[in-house]
């Protein structure tokens, strides 16, 4: 099938503002958008810049706006888009470095601010083995372990677009992953951070994040659970 493939381009040394380039491509309905980007870079314009790594929806490198929605280019098939025109743009809310590559530093700074690692101050268990937890305790935060840090959620959030100080959905999801982990002792500290002006209260339950997540994490629900933990002081 023939499609028109449009990409929002920006070269920081040449362009004053972004512009669209388009190509008429012969593609298969089962091609992924990432395949189209590779086709353009390989055959038409070697200067097209985009991130990719595993190409199987695991590394989270190739999140971008595809026909107006944040998705992973490696997970979206041409037939899924049901259109003869496919438009690809960089993520919103982060500075564009070149073409589809955005500056992820603010995103990872927000991620680091919620201490996304296991905090445990007591000594290791006597037998030297791992700190155990029951399947039920593990289930409590299972959903938020699936995050691949692609930034599709955070950059789909209108509150984040207008206020980059907001930590954003991805940081809250990763805080949730440890706050509700029975082995962790840093919940109070994380909840204190998320109770600040830049924390969970900026969320207005728009649900864009939940819709954008390529891993189907129930992000708005996770944010609500963190809000409830702050208000009640309970982690049930």
């Amino acid at each position: 099938m023939k499609i028109t493939f449009k990409v929002l381009r920006f070269h920081p040394e040449r362009d004053e503002k972004p512009h669209f380039d388009s190509w008429d491509l012969e593609v298969e309905p089962t091609d992924r958008v990432l395949d189209l980007l590779e086709q353009v870079r390989g055959f038409y314009d070697g200067s097209l810049a985009f991130r990719r790594s595993c190409a199987h929806g695991v590394c989270g490198s190739d999140a971008m706006r595809i026909n107006g929605r944040n998705r992973l280019a490696c997970k979206v098939l041409v037939r899924d888009l049901d259109s003869n025109t496919i438009t690809v743009e960089p993520l919103l809310g982060l500075r564009v470095l070149k073409d589809l590559i955005v500056d992820m530093d603010p995103f990872f700074k927000a991620y680091r601010s919620v201490k996304p690692y296991l905090i445990h101050t007591s000594p290791p268990v006597a037998d030297g083995r791992e700190r155990l937890q029951s399947p039920e305790q593990r289930e409590r935060f299972d959903d938020t372990t699936k995050c691949i840090l692609c930034a599709a959620c955070t950059t789909s959030c209108p509150a984040y677009w207008s206020n980059g100080d907001y930590v954003g959905p991805a940081a809250i999801v990763n805080a949730h992953r440890f706050i509700f982990d029975s082995r962790d002792q840093g919940a109070a500290e994380r909840l204190r951070i998320l109770n600040e002006q830049t924390g969970v209260w900026r969320c207005r339950t728009v649900f864009n994040c939940t819709e954008a997540c390529p891993r189907d994490i129930k992000i708005t629900q996770a944010i609500a659970e963190v809000k409830r933990a702050i208000l009640t002081g309970k982690l049930d």
Partner: protein
């Protein structure tokens, strides 16, 4: 099995927490107030009946202190709910701490003045013309 997460996790309440809670509590209070208002105006009395004699209807409402207080509460909570929502939206585009503080206090006084003027008018009523 380790269960270490039972440590106290309550972060101290701050302005953001209170504002968020206020939004929810005022919404709960608004449910009976707004529905009571709508049912009375549109169903029990009816807009056409009010339209035939609007001044008479207002005089009838103002004859009862209960309705005056009801209307003052409706004004206060609905306006507070709206102003707090406006504050949330404005914080998205106002980023400087000083400007935010001015916004918070400005909106608070805006709410207070309008609610007080409205409450005084509703509860104190009007002087009857001789």
């Amino acid at each position: 099995m380790n269960q270490t997460n039972s440590l106290p996790v309550n972060p101290p309440a701050n302005y953001e927490t209170s504002a968020w809670k206020w939004m929810r509590y005022s919404a709960f209070l608004l449910i009976p107030l707004v529905w009571g208002h709508i049912i009375l105006q549109d169903v029990v009395v009816g807009v056409h009946a009010i339209g035939n004699d609007p001044l008479g209807y207002v005089a009838q409402r103002w004859a009862s202190y209960g309705w005056r207080i009801y209307d003052a509460l409706l004004l206060g909570f609905a306006f507070a709910h709206g102003v707090n929502g406006l504050r949330q939206v404005a914080q998205d585009v106002i980023h400087k701490p000083v400007a935010r503080k001015i916004l918070n206090w400005g909106l608070f006084f805006f709410w207070l003045v309008i609610t007080l003027v409205g409450a005084v008018a509703l509860i104190a009523g009007v002087r009857q013309m001789p």
